[in-house]
Symmetry: C2
Subunit: 347 residues, 2 copies
Amino acid sequence: MSSDALPAPAPVTLREVALAAGVSVATASKALNGQGRMTAETRERIRETAQRLGFRPNSLAQSLLRKRSFTVGLLTNDTYGRFSLPLMAGVSDALVDAGVSVFLCNVEDDSRLGQLHVEAMLDKRVDGIIATGKRIDRHLPIDLSNLRIPVIYAFTQPDPGSVAFVSDDAGGARLAVEHFCGLGRRRIAHVSGPASFAVVHERARAYREVLAEHGLPVAEPLLGAWSEGWGHEAVAKLFDGKAGRGEMPDAVFCGNDQIARGVIDALRERGIGVPEDVGVIGFDNWEIVAEATRPPLTSVDMNLATLGREAGLALLSLVGGQAAAPGIRKLPCRLVVRQSCGRPVGG
Amino acid sequence: MSSDALPAPAPVTLREVALAAGVSVATASKALNGQGRMTAETRERIRETAQRLGFRPNSLAQSLLRKRSFTVGLLTNDTYGRFSLPLMAGVSDALVDAGVSVFLCNVEDDSRLGQLHVEAMLDKRVDGIIATGKRIDRHLPIDLSNLRIPVIYAFTQPDPGSVAFVSDDAGGARLAVEHFCGLGRRRIAHVSGPASFAVVHERARAYREVLAEHGLPVAEPLLGAWSEGWGHEAVAKLFDGKAGRGEMPDAVFCGNDQIARGVIDALRERGIGVPEDVGVIGFDNWEIVAEATRPPLTSVDMNLATLGREAGLALLSLVGGQAAAPGIRKLPCRLVVRQSCGRPVGG
DNA sequence: CTGAGTTGGGAAAAGGTTTTCTCTTATCGC
DNA sequence: GCGATAAGAGAAAACCTTTTCCCAACTCAG
């Protein structure tokens, strides 16, 4: 109940190192930073003393002077983390080697909380901020447009004139549909999420374009929800009441892996073979889902870790004083091929 | 390509406030902190000036002096984040109101990376560290036992003599099995993960105890993997080749929600009704899975957000100088009832 | 009117590091 | 041997805030 539960010896300071080595703090500082002029012998002696005493410079004091704290803030409203976690890991990865640490700020969708976090970041003199979210077409509940520090947007709606990184959803959709075409599939359906999501339309457009380029019939995309249940329903709409195999789709491109999962299960229940009769491709490459479908699901991966890494590096260069051209950079997706599409038809 | 892409006006300092208000920095500081003695008028004038100039105290300078940085480090090796995300959110929640920010340190299972992060934390003078992981029975790849700052372990294997918070897995298992008993189920099976996990045995023990207490037959738990596939297999072992309904289990308690999902699907494929013929309970309450099963899955929730919050508060009080009794605190789970268990049998 | 006490506010040190400037001493060329 | 130069190292300011001590002026009792 009283204080002093721990021994907590105070960290050793530069002054103590200097004292032990018989030099001034100025010399000690220069020795350890490779600055200034002194005999190699002196430098080595100081280095050794620092080592022996376990000296580690106080980052707070350094930051105060250098006006760089070697910290950045990472804002997110993705409580569930399916998208932001790989992204965060990427950011962290890119920065840790530069000695930059990341403040995690979970702002939910609460602008009071967002304000609180942003002010805490500013007070702590972060060198920059990365804003990320669970949805590309929604803003975080905070205004970051007039901060005195660089801001990078990643996988969330950016402010005009800012630097942003997002996934190339249209490109990802192309990848999927082209893959079907390359396998000889000809009646390719598209089942996606709610119309309120911008990516739904972006992917649908790409879907239509690729089919048109290949001279294949374009079915109107089925929009619904991001759920397995919707996958089931969609299969009923697509397959029930069709005269024969020739009328049914032979491929379904799904808006996410959960829909794809529902589609696959519903097809199996109808005795329709995946991939023999129908190929299925999902989106997100959520491994835990994609690997649990039977057969394992081919899916579009948004490379979110890479996106996070790029965002981290971009912030770093902004902090370093490099100017970055504002705008939205779309990073390519990749197709992870598993077993839900099969080999070329008749190949 | 050159520097100075942004205007980046330097933040206003206390000195500027003091100058503008016509007082010394000492007085300004005291005015804003409610310290010292001065006329109410002076104090108000200074406050107003600070407000007008948008003064925010430099946290770095404060930390240097107070020897408290109002930051903590959060170490995790849970890349996927299913467990650590709610936990992190809880920690963050508990701390943000105290003005404490959280450094996110993803150490993977790489001890070099762990070392790097821990040193960065120490250099940045964090007030304390929370260590968390994806598994209660595994250590992070770092030694935190001799740090000069408080450490709290949450959902990971603690060092001896430390303060730790984990979920009460045995209690959670009791909750599930008792629930079955209360509904009149009598042949309750248990399908769980690999024997290499400590929680598997802990839950199995609780399962046996509850059955014994109720005078019900104990079947040997089936141990396998944490996957849907294993759920399927387990159903085959439990149900195939049984003479009739009377020999088959009428309830299955699963080690996680994915296994439960596999079990439910496999039962449906065999024409066995859930919950009419067999009740199913999962573990983890991973909503996205639990709500996608048909019927939606009753599951044990480990209350990880609460666990994180407790850990955060505990660290805060440790940092504040309160001594905490070392040891492992087990926090209760709760049962989230959905539709996979049905109403009382014959009730 | 004087001494004690109170009130309002400032000077300065502290916290740990970096950096510029200065100072002393050794070295070199002649 | 002498002046010029370079080398090695230290003093001090700076970063921004907090806090302790101190000082001046005022109030009040006697």
